[in-house]
Symmetry: D2
Subunit: 139 residues, 4 copies
């Protein structure tokens, strides 16, 4: 599937993200995905503040990760986020590669939907603001 | 699918687990799953120390979560873990319910495989120690 | 110094709170202090929701911790919080003991001040609501 | 006090580090201090792997933080770590500044001691390896 938009964040695995087995605890990759997602949304000028001002929150409602290879303290990672769908929900794919070797280590996917902050209701379609922000990438 | 073994952990959502939208950040549910998984393994006397002594680590290699309903600060949750498979990998299902209303809020699944600590190699079958620990539940 | 009010939370050290040296990462004790602080405020019916409804936030502005002894995965801890001052600021002392041996492992202190949510201004005195909540303990 | 060595890490406050009051939860600054400390130790080629290979762990035994100003999602911070003492213990001072305005927001201090990994014993003096690593900065 072709990505509409992509962004990459560089992450160096922090000491405290690794567990007693010496590898990154699985839940911490969601922090790294968050970094990549921030880079993605910054690119379309729709970061956390802009989302709030637009009246929408975008909670994650679905999540999948595969961890074929562990990572460890001080390892340098590149975390790529790619926007795959946006019309009814935001579907984003993540790939974590070792920055030195280029080897792919982890991959994942999240689904987010718009929720109107005013009444807490989930939107069945992504609000107009998202299409405006994405317009330059949609031709 | 019938669970071989089940355990439930009570979790009260900590303040710092909630994000600026006032709801539990999606990554923190993995902390709650970890609580339920600990309860599950404690039940068969195969907790973290016993795993280490047995020479195996059990990293998570696959993870899925659905978040149909948000949770918030001080909400009381019951997190149930159910062991669904064990012979080649550990497959565990999680369900998070509100402790008061009983409403199901979040569900998930993890897959773990045994890795021999001595050489870092993944086991194609679960080691004998697991079967011994599970024996009373396998009739 | 005599404590006005005290509460204790039981904490079992989670796997992911421990670092590659096999001990609890120093920052995670603040999670355990948070548990004890919640127990303390629950006792006077002034938990997070009551604070918000009263119009005040209580950010931590000062923090000290001493870590004479490490803790590790699955260790059972008792975390005691004691309220030492309340009139101009909340000063709380923490002591972490091993639940089995009773040995003291970690101690700390936090200072919080009231901030009016409406205008973000710091209060030079604790608001009246706090005195009301504490009244039964102040004779 | 003049610092022997200094390093600065750039940190953008992650969404999940902020709490329901919209500000960075106090415990998360320890993650930012960890970033600055990593930068400091990398500078003398004595990072986590080098520490382990040298046979020493360097747990934090004492910690102080002052939080005069809150920070929020996506705020860009500069976190400076300065080594103040090293002969018997590592004493490091931290200062968090807003990257745009230069305003100082948070400051702290940690104390670490060397512990021999082989026997778990605390060293009354910093081991020779540290002096070697620091030599170029000690004239």
């Amino acid at each position: 599937m072709v990505a509409i938009l992509a962004a990459t964040a560089a992450v160096t695995v922090p000491f405290q993200d690794c567990d007693p087995m010496g590898v990154t605890w699985h839940g911490n990759y969601l922090r790294y995905f968050e970094e990549a997602r921030r880079a993605l949304f910054t690119q379309i000028d729709y970061g956390y503040q802009q989302m709030q001002q637009s009246g929408y929150a975008w909670p994650i409602i679905d999540l999948k990760i595969r961890y074929p290879h562990p990572t460890t303290v001080d390892q340098q990672l590149l975390v790529k986020a790619e926007l795959l769908e946006w019309q009814h929900r935001l579907r984003i794919r993540y790939q974590v590669h070792d920055a030195d070797t280029g080897k792919r280590l982890v991959k994942g996917e999240t689904v987010q939907v718009a929720v109107a902050i005013a009444n807490g209701e989930m939107c069945l379609q992504s609000p107009a603001i998202l299409q405006q922000k994405l317009a330059p990438w949609l031709d």
